[in-house]
Amino acid sequence: MARRRSSVRRAGAGRRAPAAVLLAVVLAVGAIALLILRAGGSSSVMQTGDDGAAAAGRVATGPVRAGESFLERLGAMWTASARIDELERENQDLQTWRELAERLAERNRRYEELLRMPADSFGEGADVERAIAAQLVLDSGGPFTRTLVANAGADHGVRVGYIVVNANGLIGRVVTVGRRSSRVLMLDDYTSRIPVMGEASRVRAVMAGQATRPPELVLYPYQVQSPRLDFIVGAQNLREGERVITSGDGGIFPRGIPVGVAHREGDGSWRVAPAAAQRPIDYVRIIPFVGVETPEETSVADEGPPLNAVSSVAVIGREVTPPPPTVPSAQAPTPRPARPAAQQNPPPSAEPAPEPTQPAPETPPAANGPTE
């Protein structure tokens, strides 16, 4: 009887805090300190841990994957003949599509030449040729964050900021890199914000991750910070079932990567069914992509266009957003005789601009902002 009483009921007998409680309090305080110190940035300890966890994950999931593959092959043997016929039909269809795609690619190239647009205008800044194939070996699956660990790291050429896609579309972005592994922030993570647009309607939005729920489309992302854009139009043009792609705004993601399909909730909010949501996400491609640098980061000794000049890009974007306040064309009517040199630039005599009328490809004039 004494033993039974000693379990739960006896817990209230003592008044002096036992050592286990004191240790728990000390460790809890240490945990809070860890959380506070985390504000300093990514930790190399986490990256090293990811490397170890990725290796363990490969070992742990290996037998399961091998078993799945064996059973699939065994099942496929029964329908091999029918599948061969089906594949031959698909192959013929694909040949037709390939020819069509080649014709369209050629036509697209000529159109781009006609428009004199830089080569990376539509997301070609992502170096697809140097894409790194990787396998996802760990899935955070936790309640707080939505991250994945891929088994390719710095040794394989992966860098922070690279884009992660699979056959269906965008998965996320590399946020930390270890030697042989990298952690990918998924597009539905709570902290994920991706500029997107409707493929047909061209309606701009920011896709905000919601962790367990499908990501939400914020249709007026710039309203709070830029009240001047109150007149933004087109939000009502978004269609149910419309494909959502990355818009390239902000220069973090290349433009045109499939993200998912838009659908409207009962409360009127728009959400995206991610294209890459088919689980489990297995093999991925990590695409090198260097975001667009701001003009201040790559300033050149250039006096810029004349006061009254209006670039073609600004004309295209006028219906969506006004030019930034630093654009000198806003002061065109002032009778000043000459435009002063930009304050951040060196004196004009430092280096002449090679072609003042044509923007350099490395510094597109705010074309990746919310102007298109």
Partner: protein
């Protein structure tokens, strides 16, 4: 053959490791419960560990509950992608809450133990909300869902973490 307590620890470890493996949404959290919360609460209510001894091994045994919870929390933080300290804080908070609840529990039976666990789980959700507000950008709603699921399953797994003699103990532990 493993004892029920050992199975409880294995279950807690599995709830940390399995969501990290790419086995699909069934193994994500939620819907998988946070079994370490059961362990933290159960070990607290049972005063797992006992008094400190003279030898360092005895001390380690006496302190095994907070040490194990810290280790599981750090492992969970690592596998989930951080931030470090988040799950450690939640699990140790549940442990301390379990201590407080057990001290104030006058007649422990299944209902009161369950109620105590629900209060403990709710307290950890509140702590997660505070962390999200002041320390780190994290999503609290999925954690709250996981904590709710964990609370619902508590009566089923309670024997793995606490004494199985609830009813007699409830009679013995009446108000006095």
């Amino acid at each position: 053959m493993l004892s029920p307590r050992a199975w409880g620890f294995v279950l807690a470890l599995a709830s940390v490791v399995l969501p990290a493996l790419p086995f699909g949404p069934l193994f994500a959290q939620p819907p998988m419960p946070l079994a370490v919360l059961w362990a933290a609460y159960g070990w607290a209510a049972e005063r797992e560990g006992g008094p400190l001894g003279e030898h360092w091994l005895q001390m380690l045994a006496a302190l095994r509950a907070p040490i194990a919870l810290t280790a599981l929390g750090l492992l969970h933080d690592q596998l989930a992608g951080g931030p470090y300290g988040l799950f450690v804080l939640l699990y140790l908070s549940a442990h301390l809450m379990g201590r407080i609840v057990s001290v104030n529990m006058s007649a422990p039976n299944l209902i009161s133990l369950w109620g105590g666990f629900v209060v403990t789980a709710a307290a950890t959700v509140a702590i997660a909300a505070l962390v999200a507000r002041f320390l780190a950008p994290i999503a609290v709603t999925p954690y709250a869902e996981a904590a709710l699921i964990t609370s619902l399953f508590f009566p089923i797994v309670r024997p793995l973490y606490m004494s199985a003699t609830v009813t007699p103990r409830a009679k013995v532990g009446g108000r006095r």
